[in-house]
């Protein structure tokens, strides 16, 4: 397997959605290709970092403010079954 082929399959490899034969071929590639190993490893880490460190948290005060505004707008609008 070539590195370019490895890269096109990287998504499905990381998402665990490859069939076992292809998965084995990719794993084998990783045992000797340091570049792809690092790319795979750091790409996985990239996803994890974004998932674990939410960039935009909703502060409680803003949350309450938005919540009240939405409810007021909903009350002012017709109920869904009448529109």
């Amino acid at each position: 397997m070539k590195c370019s082929k490895f890269l096109t399959e990287l998504n499905d490899f990381l998402d665990g959605s490859l069939d076992s034969k292809l998965k084995a071929e990719l794993s084998e590639h990783l045992t000797w290709c340091h570049n792809c190993y690092v790319v795979c490893n750091t790409t996985k880490k990239t996803i994890e970092i974004y998932r674990e460190n939410q960039v935009y948290e909703l502060p409680d005060t803003l949350r309450t403010k938005l919540h009240d505004a939405i409810v007021a707008k909903c009350k002012a609008s017709k109920p869904p079954n009448e529109t």
């Binding site: 790319v39 750091t42 996803i47 970092i49 974004y50 460190n53 909903c74």
Partner: protein, 211 residues
């Protein structure tokens, strides 16, 4: 090497009961749906619009639209996916209003060589997060993802941050599954490349930030 687990936001029968009640005009039931998903909608809106005020508007407009159009929700998809689709559309509209000079489209053509192998292959320190304080890290992550084209950014946020499946992401954005996959790969690789300069192992050791 393990695979990445997706945080699935599944429908429970409890949730469907809330949707049914809200359809009949029960605002208290709808409030519970707001509480369940407002954080997700806010994040998505902020990621797409890159503007706090716009994101606040998007959250309000998306939930109001969802409420008014609840009858359209037939339960063929998850309520969450349906809601996200409304929120993404609202957010893209906001973005278009702001960036009148630049066209914002999910179909924007961003050429990159799909099969090329990234050149920079320095490994990262074992715990890159620990090199930075939480606030610094959030800042780095926000700045880095802001640099991606809207189409890439949106696919990455829905798929990898909010945990939608590839199929749900495609449905939400009106893209084909192969288009989502190709954007996701490019988004992941571009983010990796950009984070490299913060996280790569330093030759002389130490956690000082370069550049």
């Amino acid at each position: 090497m393990g695979t990445i687990q997706t945080n699935v936001t599944g429908d429970t029968s409890e949730e469907l009961a809330l949707v049914q009640a809200a359809k009949g005009g029960d605002i208290t039931a709808f409030e519970q749906l707001i509480k369940k998903y407002d954080r997700n909608v806010f994040r998505i809106a902020q990621h797409i619009t890159q503007n706090r005020e716009d994101a606040e508007d998007v959250v309000q407009d998306a939930f109001l639209k969802a409420y008014q159009n609840l009858k359209q929700f037939q339960g063929n998809s998850k309520f969450y996916t349906w809601l996200v689709r409304i929120a993404v559309n609202e957010a893209l509209m906001k973005l278009r209003k702001r960036k009148t000079s630049k066209t914002v489209s999910m179909d924007e053509d961003v050429e990159t060589e799909d099969g090329s192998v990234p050149r920079e292959v320095a490994d990262w320190s074992p715990n890159p997060e620990q090199l930075f304080r939480q606030a610094e890290l959030s800042d780095i992550l926000a700045k880095t993802i802001q640099g991606l084209p809207t189409g890439f950014r949106t696919v990455f946020v829905l798929r990898d941050v909010e945990g939608l499946s590839t199929e749900e992401t495609a449905e939400t954005l009106g893209l084909s599954v192969p288009a989502v996959k190709s954007r996701l790969l490019r988004a992941r690789l571009q983010l990796r490349e950009r984070l490299n300069r913060y996280f790569k192992k330093k030759k002389n050791g130490g956690g000082d930030q370069q550049q």
